[in-house]
Amino acid sequence: MSPWAGLRVVVIAIYVFMLGPILITAAVSFNASNRSQFPPRGFSLQWWEKAFSAEWIDPLWFSFKLGCAAAVISTLLALPLAFALARYRFPGRAAMVALTLGPLMLPALVTGVGLLQLFQYAGWREQIGFTALLVGHVVICLPFAVRTVAISLHSLPPSLELAAASLGASRARTLWHVVFPLIKSGIVAGAVFAFVHSFTDVNLSLFLVRPGEQPITVKILGFLEFGFAPTLAAVSVITLLLPLVLVAVVERLTGLGDFIYGERERV
């Protein structure tokens, strides 16, 4: 067997195991019966109708808002952090690297429990729900945003900033006219990763929800305790498509793929 044939088998296997379950879920959501059968019996849209009821749309919308807020805040925090880490050597730098990458190593579950206790001891019980979730999501999304922004900064030759300065651009104008335009795709990539990470998180969110303020993942997990209904299949498909559509749109607008799969050649 040639190595290409071997590679083909691997790629096919990846597609089967990645896309297979999704296609099965999608098919199940069109069942006419109320059992999650595959292949589906008959065809109906009743489960999709249920999926678009407030019961499911509310947590979906909640997740979307939470993801957007977490992505924006963690990216805004990531910019100065990544800049400091990529450009300067200073005392405490190692500690800062550890702090920004720490949440990546820690199970989000542990972070969730910790945050819950913090909010309770600090008397911020009222904030459990959206605020606590946002804090937690920013913490776990920050490493993704910092990494992607730092990578794009590293790919920028320092001479570009010096050139701008020698041509009369102050620090701020150098950032605005030279640095930001060139790391734009890195910033957007960081924000998209942060959004997707927030949108798909369940481990941390589990501990910080309150009635009426829960993301879709926690809602799905809760519903699963009563068994798997075709409604869930329809909801899962929606939950899956939302970040995919977002990534596709952003890819179209900014060339995200170029950032992930190798930079365009730089001069």
């Binding site: 701008a164 300065a165 020698s166 041509l167 030279v178 365009r264 001069v267």
Partner: protein, 321 residues
């Protein structure tokens, strides 16, 4: 009046000294080259002049004004970088216009000056290209136009030719030197290539270990090196204790002519280089010596094993400190 003056400039990073107390005067319109091996402090000196980092000690004067405390964007200095540092998201014309935009020059004037600058470097028709769509030599020209268009008091060139292939490098040497003289712009050029330094400069400052070893015209530096380092770094040299003789000034003779330097020796190897012949000798007493002889049809040829005299007239021998 000197256009650029370095007075006791020093740059230390922790315990390492990159530039150790340097004094240098660059005259109005002069092409001054900082020449030295890598790590000699020449690029650090350039960074200090541009203001990319502050000196540990000393002052820098541009047109008599002390600038050591000013950030780079408040100094009147144009820089061409080794990697050109063109902004990849801007066209060639936008790159050239950048410095004028930062200086809030009005758009009409900007357009005119950008056009002139691109014409100056013979890129009139390539203004709309992005750096990626330009060749190495063209990028170099854009970088030059970008630094010149702001009409800086001093132009700094950081090894701008080192990324070009040999033929283009030799063309650009002449082109940059000609352009510099035509504009009369005070220029500091950094290189480790002695050939570039000799061809392009009005004066050369030879640097070693953060210090200037000698400042002088190319002929001064080559023919009257002040130190052994300068003598060794530029061209090739025969040393006999503190006495130095250039290989092309020495001659092989059958008899000792007298009246100059002469040593008996044996030809060990002859290298045929086309325009010249290179004789490698071992002298009496075991010293090695090198003679570069023009490939002259009438001159006697020697072969390996021949017994010869290594000679040089007195005016071609110099004492080194």
């Amino acid at each position: 009046m000197s256009e650029l003056r370095l007075a006791g400039i020093e740059k230390r990073y922790g315990s390492t000294t990159a530039v150790a107390g340097m004094d240098l005067d660059v005259r109005d319109g002069e092409f001054m080259t900082l020449l030295g091996p890598s790590g000699c402090g020449k690029t650090t000196t350039l960074g200090l002049i541009a203001g990319f980092f502050p000196p540990t000690r000393g002052e820098i004067y541009v047109k008599g004004q002390a600038v050591a405390g000013l950030p780079p964007f408040r100094r009147d200095i144009g820089v061409v970088f080794q990697d050109y540092a063109l902004f990849p998201h801007m066209t060639a014309a936008e790159n050239v216009a950048f410095g004028l935009r930062m200086r809030k020059v009005d758009s009409h004037e900007t357009a005119k000056r950008v056009r002139e600058a691109l014409e100056l470097v013979q890129l009139k028709n390539l203004g709309e290209r992005r750096p990626l769509e330009l060749s190495g030599g063209q990028r170099q020209r854009v970088a030059l136009a970008r630094a010149l268009v702001i009409r800086p008091a001093v132009l700094l060139l950081d090894e701008p030719l080192s990324n070009l292939d040999l033929k283009l490098r030799e063309e650009m040497r002449v082109e940059i030197a000609t352009l510099q003289r035509r504009l009369g712009i005070t220029t500091v050029f950094v290189t480790h290539d002695q050939g570039e330094a000799l061809v392009m400069s009005d004066r050369i400052a030879v640097m070693n270990a953060g210090r200037i070893e000698q400042v002088g015209t190319p002929a001064d530096i080559y023919e009257r090196p002040a130190t052994r380092f300068v003598a060794e770094f530029i061209g090739r040299m025969n040393f006999f204790g503190t006495l130095a003789i250039r290989p092309e000034r020495a001659k092989l003779m059958q008899e000792n002519p007298g009246g100059g330097f002469a040593r008996r020796g044996t030809v060990k190897q002859v290298l045929y280089l086309g325009a010249t012949l290179e004789y490698h000798l071992t002298l009496e007493g075991g010293e090695r010596a090198l003679v570069e002889a023009p490939n002259d049809a009438h001159a006697p040829r020697y072969a390996a094993g021949d017994a010869v005299w290594f000679t040089a007239p007195r005016e071609s021998c110099y004492e080194l400190k």
